[in-house]
Amino acid sequence: MTTGTTEKFDDIYHAHKVLVYNLALSYVLVAEDAQEIAQDVFVSVYQGLKSFKEQSSITTWVYRITINKSLDFIKAKQRKKRFAFLTSLFHDDSNELKYDKPTFDHPGVQLENREAVERIFKCIHQLPDNQKTALLLSKIEDKTQVEIAEIMNLSAKAVESLIQRAKQNLSTKLSKSEG
């Protein structure tokens, strides 16, 4: 790492570490996974610094990388789960489950709130990627529709429609999950 690049990268890291970590948490809901995504995001930021042409703000750029890395992580995890049925689920020498990882470990959620939040997030994660992203940016990141439009490279109208559909679908899923 050259000195100039290191300083610039460090500035970007300190300015965006909370954003990246919390956004990743919203997607994967597990602290350990969010840490892994955050590492990958900042490695990509470092590698892309030289070629970053400032067509958008750095924050917007970081948001986009975080969203893409998070969605890729979720897809990879789903693929691993499918393959887990074809391989042994247990470690060779013991009866300890190999794939018994927590599905909800969000450090920002209080214990008394956990059940409700977990149920809502599980329904959010059944939405299509673009609706999920628009809803998370709106509800969790408190972004305006204009800001979300810039991050997702859509028009404000398209974002409004996405959020509306996301809320409708979410409402249906929450009703079904209650029974």
């Binding site: 570490k17 970590y21 840490q35 990958d40 490695v43 450090p107 969790i140």
Partner: protein
């Protein structure tokens, strides 16, 4: 019971958390690892051009050999030289 968007209020109670303190150290380790294993663009160009040159030269050589093989009987005929073959009677 149909849920309204207001039922998303539990999400408002999610606290923003700090990134773990060791995160930057791990990121720097990953960056160092990736820069060691990465092939530089210059090296990639050198390999690419070398491969193209290698293929081109081999193609030219094969074509030349093929042409020589075809023209040998014509040349022999022109020089009144009978090609020697152990199987000629």
């Amino acid at each position: 019971m149909k849920h309204t968007p207001d039922d998303l209020t539990p999400l408002d109670r999610i606290a923003r958390v700090d990134a773990p303190p060791f995160l930057l150290t791990r990121i720097r380790q990953k960056i160092d690892e990736s820069s060691r294993t990465r092939i530089s663009p210059t090296f990639q160009w050198v390999i690419g051009i070398s491969a193209v040159l290698f293929l081109a030269l081999n193609t030219v050589a094969i074509l030349k050999v093929t042409q020589n093989t075809k023209s040998t009987p014509v040349l022999a005929q022109g020089m009144n030289v009978v090609p020697i073959s152990l199987y000629n009677e």
